[in-house]
Amino acid sequence: MTYQLVVEPLGERIEVAEDQTILDACLRQGIYLPYACGHGLCGTCKVTVLDGEIDHADASPFALMDFERAEGRALACTARMKSDCEIEADIEEDPDQRRIPIRDFTVTVEQVEDLTGDVKGLRLALQNGPIDFQAGQYVNITLPGVEGTRAFSIANPPSDNGAVELQIRRVPNGKGTGYIFEQLKQGDQLKLSGPYGRFFVRKSRGGPLLFLGGGTGVSSPHSMVLDLLAEGYTQPITLIHGVRTQADLYGVEEFTALADKHANFRYVPALSSEPAESNWQGARGFVHEVAESLYGGNFEGLTAYLCGPPVMIEACVNSLMRGRLFEKHIITERFLTAADAEKKSRSPLFKSL
């Protein structure tokens, strides 16, 4: 049994299991709520329940007073939902975030192409109207015979709103991607919903931008860069796209053409496992290593957008922080597979990193 939870002021809608705490559900969906003790004693995670019914469970009477309970306050770390709910949490609304209602779409597979040996590019035409989204956001797809949904970033820019393009790498033994690689074909119909996520360009901040994409993690930056250049963003934009070998690289022609056309856009494909004797003239090394050498280890003044597998994000965050770029200026989107769900113990030091 699951319930729907709307988290204000973000307007995010997530699913919460019956016995799951609101805090746990939010953190797992990438929505950071302030918290500390995690078991109802300190009160850091206090939220307001705007609508719906919750059970306070073990909330301490000192951390959550009677008058607060009467006023609809709750501790996210102990509260369990008894119905669909809407809460308001002490999180900051980003001035660049648009409130776009999530919609369900029926799509037709317009094109399936091999981008590399293990990456497919899909173009899905939307049947019931265009999709409004911010570059960087993702959609959830329901695949026939596959339990749950699968999340993929939208690779095309928001101006191209009659379809969504996805770049999908085959996950070894993955059910969802297995279906896409083995069964999906042109003309098939699928259901998807979106747009989701808080990975979008903080345009109002201005300043030079650094995009770091690992593997198919380049899909969001692809959308973001196209969007920015089309809008006439004049500050320097750098994209480092890291893959293993030349055979894993895709999108080179398009990005190279963009770099030729726009003086403020720099495109750096980086290969981590390219044989030393190959003809590759470009950058070698992991994304974070290439970024370090490109910027001389100093990232001050940038805003960085990181998109890719957790190890790559972790390595990049470490490099960026060593180069004095901190949490406020590092925006990440982690590509998690079902196998990445292992829970590592973390301190409450960082909100989103």
Binding site: G43, A63, F326, S347
Partner: protein, 505 residues
């Protein structure tokens, strides 16, 4: 959704705090804030301070008032129902003696310290947060005094806790810890108390006492624990914000902060030895061993924290591995010390009985049977023969942590650890490399230490004999000190439970 947007919590809070700040013109800002530069910390932009919580004064009073109502209702009912007779055992009262004389006065010191930083930090956001914490700390000591005062009606040794805190030999350990922090600059105080103490080590201090109270039937202390803990969230988030802010503001801050983290981790570790002893030896009903608590709260939780802090280049505190190794020894070495000096303590001691010894053997398989159990068994044998062992020599103290030099060499539990150094022609002694490093970094500060043993020898503590000194401490000789068995505390407890004792025999 309506068209007009409400102010976010953050904006509302900023208007009510930083919005009321101003640049001084009658006096230059550097004169108004004279202490926030000498430590070498560089702040480029105070406006980058992220308010760790958003609680305004008016709601603060509302919250705290309700907390007080709840707490005092529990205290009243505890008193009316003679809750003191329902604790697990009369020995438990000694835990409260340790708490009220050793810990509660530090709440007051924390209050003073945060009042200082709440005045002297230049950023208004940080000042407001510190002021709020300052008032919290005052509330904590007040509620602790009120809670434990009920026990003072029945049990000995806490009638003059404040004077004892200032004078008693072992209480100079917590006292000097906070004196050190309070005589530091405002940024060091924030790292020492706001970060190292309130964030990294707080769970090792409060959880043992409060769980100990819960396990041993002391509902009043549990309740003040909950009441205080609901404030701790603000203290912890303030500690986190402080360290992030300093590390993000300027690269030159990193080595300074690292040195403070090293120092205050080690000082905190030394201070917590008293909690270790309380957990392993003084709670009639045990919660968990000190070693288990250390593994959960420092090795795991602290490890995760420092793994995240590593992104800033901050390393695990120096000597953390030694501290972790000492978690197998410290409680035993401390209790052995108090057992030998029971005549000079304001609480009672006892030898662990067989069941307790077995528990310790089980919890400390690497060390207890090998090093400590034989000692307790020998002392037990001596006591049986009417030769209860007292140590009448005055101990040598560490110049920094002020703990008697009773700890052993890392890796060699049969050799006492001594370190020494010379400064201005004088020789100074330390219990460890950790304390020795702290001294060498600021010798001018630590040569001024008020060391209880030296003070006795200099004739500043009431006289030359033990009874004279104890009298000066404010002890009632023969009531407050010596073993629990045979004490007035024990007599009273047995009277309360005479029926049960009779029924059992």
């Amino acid at each position: 959704m309506s068209g007009t947007k409400k102010l976010g919590l953050r904006q509302r809070y900023e208007h009510l705090t930083r919005g009321l700040d101003w640049e001084t013109t009658y006096q230059p800002m550097d004169k108004v804030f004279p202490y926030d530069e000498f430590e070498g910390i560089k702040i480029k932009d105070w406006s980058a301070w992220e308010d760790p919580f958003r609680l305004t004064m008016d709601s603060y009073w509302k919250f705290q008032a309700e907390k007080e109502r709840k707490l005092y209702a529990v205290l009243d009912s505890f008193a009316q129902n003679n809750g003191q007779t329902g604790i697990s055992d009369g020995r438990y009262a000694n835990v409260l003696k340790l708490f009220l004389t050793g810990i509660s006065p530090e709440e007051y010191q924390a209050h003073r310290g945060f009042a200082f930083t709440g005045r002297h930090l230049r950023g208004a956001g940080a000042r407001v947060a510190c002021q709020m914490q300052s008032i919290d700390e005052l509330r904590h000591i007040q509620t602790q005094i009120h809670t434990i005062s009920h026990f003072n009606k029945y049990f000995n040794g806490i009638h003059d806790f404040s004077k004892m805190h200032d004078r008693v030999w072992y209480l100079s350990v917590p006292k000097s810890f906070f004196d050190d922090a309070r005589t530091s600059g405002p940024f060091e105080f924030m790292i020492a108390i706001g970060f190292a103490f309130e964030y990294v080590l707080t769970n090792l201090l409060f959880v043992p006492f409060m769980s100990g109270a819960a396990y041993n039937g002391d509902m009043s202390t549990v309740t003040f624990g909950f009441s205080a803990q609901s404030d701790e969230s603000r203290h912890m988030t303030l500690g986190i914000e402080v360290i992030k802010f300093l590390l993000e503001q300027h690269p030159d801050n990193l080595p300074i902060v690292q040195k403070w983290v090293d120092k205050w981790f080690w000082r905190g570790h030394r201070l917590l030895g008293i909690v270790a002893m309380m957990m392993d030896y003084m709670l009639p009903k045990k919660v968990m061993s000190w070693k288990e608590a250390w593994d959960i709260y420092f090795v795991e939780a602290g490890g995760a924290l420092f793994q995240d802090l590593a992104r800033y280049g901050l390393k695990m505190p120096k000597y953390h591995e030694i501290a972790t190794a000492e978690a197998e020894h410290v409680s035993h070495q401390n209790w052995c010390t108090f057992y030998q000096y029971t005549h000079a303590a304001n609480f009672h001691t006892w030898l662990p009985d067989n069941e307790h010894l077995d528990w310790l053997s089980e919890k400390y398989p690497n060390t207890f049977d090998k090093y400590y159990r034989p000692r307790f068994e020998m002392w037990g044998q001596m006591a049986k023969e009417g030769k209860r062992f007292y140590n009448n020599a005055l101990v040598q103290l560490c110049q920094v942590c002020q703990i008697p030099m009773v700890y052993t060499e890392p890796g060699d539990p049969n050799t006492i650890c001594f370190r020494e150094t010379q400064f201005n022609g004088q020789r100074y002694h330390f219990c460890s490399d950790g304390c020795s490093d702290i001294f060498k970094n600021e010798p001018e500060k630590y040569v001024q230490a008020w060391l209880p043993v030296q003070q006795i020898f200099q004739g500043n503590c009431g006289g030359a004999t033990i009874p004279e000194v104890l009298d000066w401490y404010g002890y009632k000789f023969g009531e407050d000190n010596f073993d629990y068995v045979g004490s007035p505390d024990e007599k009273l407890w047995n009277e309360w439970h005479a029926d049960k004792i009779k029924a059992a025999s």
